[in-house]
Structures are given as structure tokens and as C-alpha cells.
Symmetry: C2
Subunit: 298 residues, 2 copies
């Protein structure tokens, strides 16, 4: 469905807008394309973990130090030590996660790493800025978009907030509790949001680019999607922070600001699709179908 | 996360149960493995659309004639005519859908097809048997499992019900309204449930086997995930109903009965994960994270 006809309508709307005409289309994509420059915020380069995979494929992850400071501190340290260079993607479980790290589980960790981070599964909601998403959620009292466009779920009674396990969110692999993982073993969600993992794992970031590469990797045939044959693993050539790359080589991204008029219009349009294809707007959108628009910095 | 340690615990639980001990684990998988034979219902062979792809890969779809009788009638006719043989998968859009059919859009349809099916987007809820899922849903007044284990969403005011766009659900590609598609162009969901498509499209089935094959296909780089190069398409060798295959060759599947005690226990366990890995059960599960267990017939 959503044929090329639909796409042409969308392009036409974007074109009309670019030409100065009021935007006729209320499609979410049309709103993103026509959003003004001040609706976008740059992502700082020390928040970007750039993972180069075999075959000239690249994954770019935005880290969330506000949500998991100790784990993100570890991840930055691991990147600066080149620790992931030569490791691999070892697990791809359909409709669930892609996981990477040291397949041998014996690679020594860099000095200075916090080997026993606290459980950064949720944080106090007090003081949190959030644009509420006014639709029901099965797993939380409320959801919305925090600073930086992060998806957020909240527990009103407990007064806590956390990053939900939406498509493309990145978490820290761990063994059984009270182990919380160090950050050396990471995974990204590649299926329907496994929200039952919320508050059971430290979520440390989101994929800004390249999720379509790892989501298309062959599924592992062993238990939990681990590869049966080590040759099936995808090699990680190197992983580093964008801030440690030459300025000319750094990937640069922008996320739409939740406090912008464009964002408000975009959420409304996501919840009430009225472009030509749709005969019945849903009147709602769940937080994982409303992940903040991202674009390469122009 | 969910390491091999976790998996071992799960296997141990299943083993204990098979040996006659009361099931210690309350893991969903443990419940599925230990469910008695009468908790399962066979899927009739004339409901199974078997699609053989290039490379000896197979997709098996269960059709839902109760939900989209005219479209399913067309699909059965197309399968019996061998219409899909030699067509291809033409579109793979990340976190969205895989779509297949005739890339030329000029292949004549078989005689007797209903070229203008009605909009089978929802049906009357009256008379529908449904095991309710008592958790909030952003898109519907209620959700649950209908006969055959189908996920169901309902609109109390309108008195209607429909099959939601969960991972692996199959719908009918169409152009703009009032076109509803014939059933010749089909897609399967391979990402976070795009529930905004609910009631905008005829949903005709669900993938019982092989979703991990098509979900891992390379994403198309053209608009909407269409392949830029025809060579990237995956050929459909043939598609037929299992009932038209030799009995010895038919794939056979069973779905867990929503009215069984095992199903009730399984939903509870999905909503309240207490196996060793989990430190905080969610207390809820959304309909697309609670798709009925399926197994090859023993």
C-alpha cells in the first residue's frame, strides 16, 4: 500500500511549501520537509557513537547521558579506547534485537571503567521537561517527548521517568540482576517495541542512522538469535565518538525540537493522517510511532 | 541482554515440566512448551498460503476469511491460478512493510476475480467471540484475541472490530480510496505496529512462518522502500494453498486456543515477566506483544 501515487502527492506538497505557498498537505513528511531551521537542534558530536561495520556500512547512535550517565561514561571510555574495534555483531533475533560486543566475552575492559554501574533504569521525573503525548499507553501512566526529542514514559505514582524500548533504541546487555552490564555489550531494538524490557535495562541511546542496515542482517539460528557460525557475525571495524573524528569527517545530525510549532503539527498529523491515502485517521499515535524526526545537518 | 544464562533457565523449566514436575518457571516460553495438546487448534489447510521464494525460502501465511471474505476469496483464486508464480518481492521499507506482487503492474488477473472488492476494513463486533486483553491501547477502545487466536481491536461506540496491524500481519496493497486492492498485491508488517493503517486497509492474514526471512531482506533505497534495481527483487517461485499440495508436503500449524488455560497463563506471564532476568514486571502487555503462540503441528 501507500503507492507511488501517494509519494508523488507528498513531494508535490513539499514543493509547494518550498515555493512559499502555504503547505496544503498535512502529511507528517510534508511537515518535516517544510520545517524551518529553528525547529531543529544540532546533536553535539560527543553524543554521537559512530560504528563502522564491515562492508562500508555505518551505524550512528546518539547517547543519552542525561538518562544513564554512568553507562554512557563507560561507553565513551570504551569508544576512546578503541575497545569495540575488531568485535562484532553476534546476535540478531527477529522482531526483537541486534546485539554486539566481544563474542569471546574475555576481552579485557579498559582501565577506569565502572565495572558495576548502578541500575540506571529510570530517573526522577521531577525537573524533567516533557511535551506530553495525550494518548493511552499500555505500559506507562503517560508518555511524551523530552528535551532533545527523546521518547519518555512516566510513572506518576513513583515519580519516575524512563526511555521506552522503541524501535532503534539502544540498551545495555546484561546478565541476571543485580548485574546491570557495563555498556560494552549493547543492543538495538529491531521489532515491535519490547516495552516489557522498560525499567529492566539501562537504555543509553537511539540509532540516528543505519538502523536499516542492522535490521536487515540475517537472523541467527541459535537460541535468542545468536549466530551458529562465527563467520555469520558482522565485524565492527571501529567505533568512536564523532567528537574524536576530524571535524571534516564527523557525521552531523539534527533532531526536531519538541517545543517547536513544527513538532506540534507533526504529532497532530501523525495522529490524524489526512493525506489522500487515509480514509480514517486513527485519532491517536503511540510513543513508538511518534519518534522525533531526525535529519542530517544541512 | 537475555543471555544464554536466561535461556538455560527456560530450558530447564520446560524440561522439569515435561518430566511431570509442576512448572516452576512462569516464563511465557515455558508455558508454551508445556501446554497440553488440547490447548492447540489445527489451522485448516485451505487457510494456508504457502509462498516459495528463490533460495529455498518459504513464507506461510494464514488467511482470515472471517475478516475479509471477498479479498480472501480473491487470494485463493490467485493462488489456484498460479498467478504469483514468477512475480516478486518489490518493496522492503525499514520498520514498516515488505510488499510483493507483479512489479510490472500489467499482469492480467485471473478470470472470476472480484476486481472491486468492498472495503473489508472492519466488521460488526456483534457475535464476535473475544478473549479481552485488559490493558490500555492507544488506537482502540479494547483489544483481545478472537477465535483462532487472531489479535482483535474494537470500537465500542461503532460496534466494530478489526485485525490490528501487528508485526507479521498481512494486508492488501491498494492505491487511493475508494480503491481497496484486489489481493494480488500483498504486504506484511516488519516493524513496530503501524496501527494508523488499521481500518484503512483490508487485513487478510498473518505470517505463521518465514517472517524472519522477509524481515531480513535488504531495504529498498527508492521512495517507500521500492528497489532501485530489479535485480534486487526476491523472486516468488510459486504460491499456492496448502490444501492444493500433496498431503505429504503440506505444512501444518497449530495456534494456541484463546479459551485454553495455557493461553490465560501465557498472557499473564507476558504481562508479568517474573523469570530470573526481569527485576520489574510491566504489569501489562499490548496486543501486538501478545500474538498467539504458533507451532508446527506435532
Amino acid at each position: 500500500m501507500i503507492t507511488s501515487l501517494f509519494f508523488m502527492a507528498l513531494q508535490a506538497a513539499a514543493h509547494a511549501s518550498a515555493a512559499g505557498a502555504p503547505p496544503a498537505a498535512v502529511s507528517p513528511s510534508g511537515i518535516v520537509v517544510s520545517a524551518p531551521a529553528d525547529a531543529w537542534a544540532d546533536v553535539a558530536s560527543d553524543r554521537l557513537l559512530v560504528i563502522d561495520l564491515a562492508g562500508s556500512r555505518r551505524l550512528v547512535i546518539e547517547l543519552a547521558p542525561e538518562w544513564a550517565p554512568v553507562h554512557v561514561g563507560n561507553i565513551r571510555r570504551l569508544a576512546r579506547a578503541g575497545w569495540w574495534d575488531g568485535t562484532s555483531i553476534n546476535r540478531v533475533q527477529d522482531n526483537y534485537v541486534v546485539q554486539w560486543g566481544d563474542a569471546t566475552e574475555h576481552k579485557p575492559l579498559p582501565a577506569g571503567l565502572n565495572a558495576k554501574p548502578p541500575a540506571e533504569y529510570e530517573r526522577a521525573a521531577r525537573g524533567l521537561t516533557m511535551r506530553p503525548l495525550d494518548f493511552r499507553d499500555a505500559y506507562a501512566d503517560g508518555t511524551g517527548h523530552g528535551a532533545g526529542g527523546w521518547p519518555v514514559a512516566i510513572d506518576r505514582k513513583a515519580g519516575t521517568a524512563w526511555l521506552p524500548h522503541c524501535y532503534g533504541m539502544v540498551g545495555v546487555g546484561r546478565n541476571l540482576a543485580p548485574d546491570t552490564g557495563t555498556g560494552a555489550e549493547l543492543y538495538a531494538v529491531i521489532g515491535h517495541a519490547p516495552r516489557h524490557l522498560d525499567r529492566n535495562i539501562s537504555v543509553v541511546g537511539r540509532v540516528l542512522a543505519g538502523i536499516e542496515v542492522i535490521a536487515a542482517l540475517p537472523r541467527g539460528t541459535e537460541a535468542l538469535g545468536f549466530y551458529a557460525d562465527p563467520a555469520q557475525r558482522t565485524a565492527i571495524v571501529r567505533a568512536r565518538l564523532a567528537s574524536d573524528m576530524d571535524a571534516s569527517e564527523r557525521p552531523r545530525f539534527q533532531v526536531m525540537r519538541p517545543d517547536s510549532a513544527s513538532f506540534a503539527a507533526w504529532v497532530r498529523a501523525r495522529a490524524n493522517r489526512k493525506d489522500d491515502f487515509f480514509v480514517r485517521p486513527a485519532g491517536a499515535v503511540d510513543i513508538c510511532n511518534a519518534q522525533a524526526p531526525v535529519r542530517p545537518a544541512p
